[in-house]
């Protein structure tokens, strides 16, 4: 014990455990680092973005500035763990929109939309009914810069948002995400809520005119939008007490299929006797999700 060097050596040996991080743990960390790097907002220039946002808010209600400080649809899909959908949003068939609208306390941005078969890792019974699906990413931010409640917070969901594609010429209270086997996933990142919605594919209606509506309601709210039964045009009700927004969906008209579209609407609006397979699929849908939400199960 008199030899301080020996005592040092003893301490060194005693206080150095033989444990080591496993290769798997190290790889997991490296993967997470890379993953988080990919999830960084496209731009960190918060000040300049804020200035741009302020300027645009003053001059116009609809703008295309949003892409610079929000996550893009691919990143949102990745964040939700859907790699196949992330790839689909990166594909040439995906449509980047990046249009924003301010309404009430909120800043809504429609980022992008993509349609197709087997473009998601998460398949539910809705695919049995119609394998062609449409996915869109919308972000919701507070106009005053405060954060949207996280999905784990008690405040989450207290202000509901109904986001749905609408088809020109079809009564929006009849044909919307709820009736089109729809679902959604919410994720709040850096105080901005991102909603990934999905429903039966709507590209077949591209030539008729399509909208994407947003309202602070749980279901389609007839007070939020006007529907002209003669022209089939949906418009925003500017007197709506909540927040509302309406975007045009510029879908690919080469995917139009009148025959398929008519058949789809006929089945949707007249849910008579379908095949037993469809019955089973519908039953699955009814049992697994309340108004819509096969994706909610994933979260």
């Amino acid at each position: 014990m008199k030899n301080s060097e020996s005592f040092n050596q003893l301490l060194k040996l005693t206080l150095t455990p033989t444990v080591e991080p496993s290769d798997e743990l190290n790889q997991k960390i490296i993967d997470k680092l890379k993953e988080n790097e990919n999830m960084k907002p496209v731009s960190r220039k918060r000040l300049s973005v804020a200035l741009v946002a302020a300027a645009i808010t003053l001059t116009m209600s609809i703008s295309a500035f949003a892409a610079c400080n929000f996550f893009n649809p691919k990143q949102v899909a990745e964040h939700l763990g859907d790699k196949t959908l992330a790839q689909a949003f990166d594909d040439k068939n995906a449509i980047e929109i990046n249009k924003s609208v301010d309404s009430g306390d909120y800043h809504f941005t429609l980022h992008g939309i993509v349609s197709g078969k087997d473009i998601s890792d998460f398949k539910g019974s809705a695919e049995k009914v119609n394998p062609n699906r449409t996915y869109a990413v919308v972000s919701i931010a507070k106009k005053d810069g405060s954060k949207m409640p996280d999905t784990k917070d008690d405040e989450y969901g207290k202000v509901p948002f109904f986001i749905s594609p609408l088809i020109k010429g079809e009564k929006p209270w009849q044909v919307n995400i709820a009736s089109m086997n729809g679902g959604y996933s919410d994720s709040v990142i850096d105080g901005v809520m991102y909603r990934l919605i999905e429903c039966d594919g709507v590209e077949m209606f591209a030539d008729r005119g399509l909208y994407l509506c947003i309202s602070t309601s749980s279901f389609y709210d007839i007070k939020a939008f006007n529907y002209n039964e003669k022209t089939g045009v949906v418009s925003l009700n500017s007197n709506y007490k909540g927040a509302n927004a309406l975007f045009n969906l510029p879908l690919n008209k080469t995917k139009v299929n009148h025959e398929k579209a008519d058949k789809y609407l006929q089945e949707l609006l007249n849910p008579a006797k379908d095949s037993s397979e469809d019955d089973n699929a519908q039953a699955d849908l009814a049992s697994e999700s309340k108004p819509f939400g096969n994706l909610q199960k994933i979260l």
Binding site: M1, N8, L10, L11, T14, P17, T18, P21, L33, N36
Partner: protein, 179 residues
């Protein structure tokens, strides 16, 4: 520093940081958590980490901060999950006067556990520099940098820690010889 650099640090300093975390957390599960959280926190702060300015010290300081934040959790688990990790290869002949015998091996293990327990019982001001020095193999200068204290204070704390441990060990060995 970017994410690639940080990933390199996992390989470069991972072992030392993991062992340091282990000495704080005392079981593998909590060590894995603390180790992982250290790098994830480092990712948030990577703009503050300079590649050429002792990133290991920075990472260790993150581990300490995280451990202090979750001390209660770790302490609670430690009570119900005692240390059972033993290093069979530890060479402690220098505390034995003669060739190792089965009896002396038992003493060695006991001594080792005794030192570990004694080190664990030190207060944070002494224990953390001790683990930084011996487990993470950091210099006095690096410890001072990570803990944001003068080097003289580091030396003083290490001296006190060693003295306490030495006294405990001598007392225990003396008791054993009497027995």
């Amino acid at each position: 520093m970017d994410i690639t650099d940080l990933s390199e640090l996992v390989h470069l300093h991972g072992k030392a940081i993991y062992r340091f975390c282990y000495n704080l957390a005392k079981n593998q599960s909590d060590t894995d958590d603390l180790y992982q959280e250290t790098f994830l926190k480092a990712m948030e702060l990577c703009h503050k980490i300079e590649k050429d300015n002792n990133p290991k010290a920075f990472l260790i300081s993150i581990s300490i901060g995280l451990w202090k934040n979750t001390r209660r959790k770790y302490a609670r688990r430690q009570r119900i999950a005692p240390i059972d990790e033993l290093n069979e290869n530890v060479n402690i002949n220098y505390i034995s006067k003669d060739e190792s015998s089965p009896e002396e091996i038992i003493i060695s293990k006991e001594s080792r556990i005794m030192i570990q327990n004694a080190a664990d019982s030190l207060n944070d001001k002494l224990k953390i520099p001790l683990y930084m020095y011996y487990t993470a193999e950091m210099s006095n200068e690096d410890i001072a940098l990570a803990l944001k204290i003068p080097q003289g204070t580091v030396k003083s704390r290490l001296y006190k820690a060693r003295k306490i441990l030495k006294n405990i060990l001598e007392r225990e060995v003396s008791n054993y010889e009497k027995f």
